[in-house]
Symmetry: C2
C-alpha cells in the first residue's frame, strides 16, 4: 500500500501515539468507524488493518485518497514546532471525561472517544477541565446574550471554574472574553486545526488563549473547519466539562447539538432564559421547557449546579425585608386593620380584623412598643413616619 | 346573644346558605378555624355554636364585635339587588375544584374551601372554570410582561379557555384585557366585595367583566380589600383553575403566593421567562429553576400543558428548512467538501471528505441532479445561484 510510512516501534506508547496520528489523518474526527474500532482493537491494530487494505473495512476505501505522504512522526514534529502537542489516552494530561464518550450513543454519525487531542498552550488540559463549564450559544447573539454570557463567564472564572467554548462569534467569544476578564484561563475547542484561526477575525483572541489557557482540537493541525468537524467538536466541548450552559440558541443552533451531547453524557445542562420575543432565546426556552436544561440566571446558579453538593449552597434571591415582615401573623392582621389617618377605637380595629377585642388590645400595645402604631385621644392609627 | 337574627329553616339548603352568609360576615375569608370546622360540623351547626358562645371556640370571642346587626337574609337580598348571588357547595354552579382546598394544608394561616362565593355576572361559574387558566403577575409589570400576558391571554381565550385573574394593575389587568380582546369571557376574583372596585381605576374594567364574564369574591359585598383577604383570595384563583401562569413576579410578589397554592393543589404551574436582568422576572425564574413551574413562552405551550393528553400536541418550533437539510448524511458530507469557486477533481473532493472516490462520484452525481453542484472541465464546484 503506497504512501504509508512504517510506524517506529521504539516504545509501545509512541507506537500507539503514531498510529493515532495516522488514523486521525486518514479519517474524519469523530467517525465512529474509527473511534469505535480503536476502542475494540487498539489504534495500532486498526492502522495495520488499514495498511493491509483489509476488505472488511470500507474505511480502507474511504481513506485511500488521504494516504499519500502520510508521515505521523513528521506530523508530530511539525506540530511541536507550532507549540502543539498530541495528547492521547493514558497520558497524564488526558482528561478522563473524554472516555465517557465511549459509553454513549452516536449523534449524527459522530461519536466515540477521540483518537487524541491536539493541544496548544501552557496549562494542563486535565487540570483545567477538572472544574470546568462549557458556555455555548448563538453566533448571532444579541447584546443581551453576549453581555450575560460575559458576566456569567467572569463569575465562573472568578470562582476558579474554567470556561470552555468554541471561539465562534457571538456567545462563544463573549464567554472566552468574560472568563479572561474574570482572571481565569479559558479553553477554546476548535473544529479546525489548533494552529488555525476560525473565524480568522479571532486570530488574536485565539493566540491570547493559547498563551494563557489552551486551544484544543481533535482535527490535525492545518485542518479546515467543516460542518461535520463542528458536529464532532461539539461532543468534545460537552465531554470535557462538568456542565454546559446555553445562552441564546436559535432552534437550529449548534449549541443545541452541544447540549444534546451534554445530556447524553449525563452532564448538567443549563440554559439562560431571555425575552420570549427574542428568536435567539427560543432554543434555550425549549430546552428548559422540555426539562432538558435547568434554568440559570447568573454564575452563582451555575456554580451551585456543577459543584459538589453543599459546597455552593443555593442563594435564593429575596426582596428587602420590611419591619412588618417580622411580625407574627396575628399582629400583622391587627396592623393591617389600623387606619392610616383617622384614629379609631380598638373595638373598631377588632371588628375590621375579625378578632376579639382583648386580643386586639394586646396586639396594639405590642405594635405601639415597636413604633408601628400610635394612640391618640380618639383611638389608634398608624404611626406617622 | 345580641345581634344575631335567627336563621329561617324553610329549607335545609337555604338554612345552610344563610348560615354560610352569617359565618362569612363574622369571620375572615379563608380563616381555617371557620373553613375547617364547617367541613367537620357543617355551617349551620358551627353557626349555632357561635350563637351559643361555645367556650371551645376562640372564634366566638373574635367574632363578637361583628355580631351587631347581622342579618343574612337581608344580606342576600341586598346582594341580589346589586346583581350578586351567593354560590355554595351543592349548588349546580359550584366549581368542584374549590373542594380540593379541603385536602391541602394551610398557607399563611389561610386555607380550606370557602363558605361560598359571591358571584356577579351572567355566566355560570362552574362552566367557565372547567377549562380555565389563572394568569397572575406583578402589579408593576414592564411593558414586556404586560404585552406577553395580553398575548397569551388572547390566545387562550381564542382557544376557548377562560382566563382567571385578580383585576390588579399590571399583569392581572393585561390578562383580563387580553382575554377580552381574544373574544373570551374572563373571571376576576377580588379580595374586596364583588360590588366594589379595587383598584378604583378598574371600576370600568370590572363592570365590563361583570357584564360579559364574572366578578367573584369570597368576602361579602361591601368588604374592603386587606392584606389577609388578598392572601385568601389567591388560593381561590389557584383552585378555580386547571393551571396558573406567572408572568413577571418579583421575589416577594403575591403571584408567587398564588403559584404556591397552585402547586399544593396539584395544578399545573407555569412561568413566562424574561431577561435575567429584569427584576420583575426574578421570581418567575426562581420558580422555573427550582422545578416548581414549567417554562412557557406562548399560549400554545399553556394549552398543551393544561389540555387532556394528546388534544394539544406539542408544537416544537423549528427553523426554516434548507434544501441541504433533506440530504442523507453522506451526500451532505460530500457537498460540504465541494469548493464554492474553484472547481476541483472528484479525487480532491474525496480526500477532503475522507471518503472513497467511487462513493464520492455517485454522491456528486446525485447532488448535480438536485442542482446543488455543477461539473465543469476542471472538476466540481457548488452550483451558482
Amino acid at each position: 500500500m503506497s504512501g504509508l510510512v512504517a510506524v517506529p516501534s521504539s516504545s509501545a506508547g509512541e507506537h500507539e501515539r503514531l498510529a493515532r496520528v495516522a488514523l486521525g489523518r486518514l479519517g474524519e474526527p469523530g467517525d465512529p468507524r474509527i473511534t469505535r474500532q480503536v476502542q475494540q482493537l487498539g489504534a495500532a491494530r486498526l492502522y495495520r488493518r488499514l495498511c493491509d487494505d483489509d476488505p472488511r473495512l470500507d474505511l480502507a476505501a474511504d481513506s485511500a485518497a488521504r494516504r499519500d505522504g502520510l508521515d505521523p512522526s513528521a506530523e508530530l514534529e511539525r506540530a511541536a514546532g507550532h507549540g502543539i502537542r498530541f495528547v492521547i489516552p493514558g497520558d497524564p494530561e488526558w482528561p478522563d471525561g473524554l472516555d465517557d464518550l465511549d459509553r454513549v450513543q452516536d449523534l449524527h454519525r459522530r461519536g466515540g472517544t477521540p483518537l487524541g487531542l491536539w493541544v496548544r498552550g501552557p496549562l494542563r488540559l486535565d487540570e483545567l477541565c477538572r472544574r470546568s463549564v462549557a458556555m455555548v450559544g448563538s453566533r448571532s447573539a444579541t447584546t443581551y446574550g453576549a453581555s450575560i454570557a460575559g458576566q456569567v463567564a467572569a463569575e465562573l472564572a472568578g470562582a476558579g471554574v474554567t470556561v470552555v467554548s468554541g471561539a465562534a462569534y457571538g456567545i462563544d467569544q463573549a464567554a472566552h472574553r468574560g472568563a479572561l476578564s474574570g482572571g481565569g484561563p479559558t479553553v477554546a475547542v476548535l473544529a479546525c486545526g489548533a494552529d488555525r484561526a476560525y473565524p480568522s477575525a479571532h486570530r488574536q483572541l485565539l493566540d491570547y488563549i493559547a498563551e494563557t489557557g489552551l486551544v484544543v482540537s481533535e482535527a490535525p493541525p492545518g485542518s479546515a473547519p467543516t460542518k461535520l468537524r463542528f458536529l464532532s467538536r461539539n461532543r468534545l466541548i460537552a465531554a470535557l466539562t462538568v456542565g454546559t450552559v446555553v445562552v441564546e440558541a436559535a432552534v437550529r443552533s449548534g449549541a443545541l447539538n452541544t447540549s444534546s451531547w451534554a445530556g447524553l453524557l449525563n452532564r448538567t445542562v443549563m440554559g439562560v432564559p431571555g425575552p420570549v420575543t427574542s428568536a435567539p432565546s427560543e432554543g434555550v426556552h425549549e430546552l428548559i421547557r422540555s426539562g432538558a436544561a435547568t434554568l440559570v440566571t447568573r454564575g452563582a446558579d451555575v456554580l451551585e449546579l456543577v459543584s459538589p453538593i453543599g459546597s455552593h449552597p443555593s442563594t435564593v434571591v429575596r426582596g428587602p425585608e420590611r419591619p412588618a415582615d417580622r411580625l407574627p401573623d396575628l399582629d400583622r392582621q391587627v396592623l393591617d386593620s389600623v387606619p392610616v389617618v383617622t384614629a379609631v377605637p380598638a373595638a373598631s380595629v377588632a371588628r375590621t380584623a375579625g378578632l376579639a377585642e382583648p386580643t386586639v388590645h394586646a396586639a396594639l400595645e405590642r405594635l405601639r412598643a415597636a413604633g408601628m402604631v400610635e394612640k391618640g385621644r380618639s383611638g389608634w392609627r398608624l404611626a406617622s413616619r
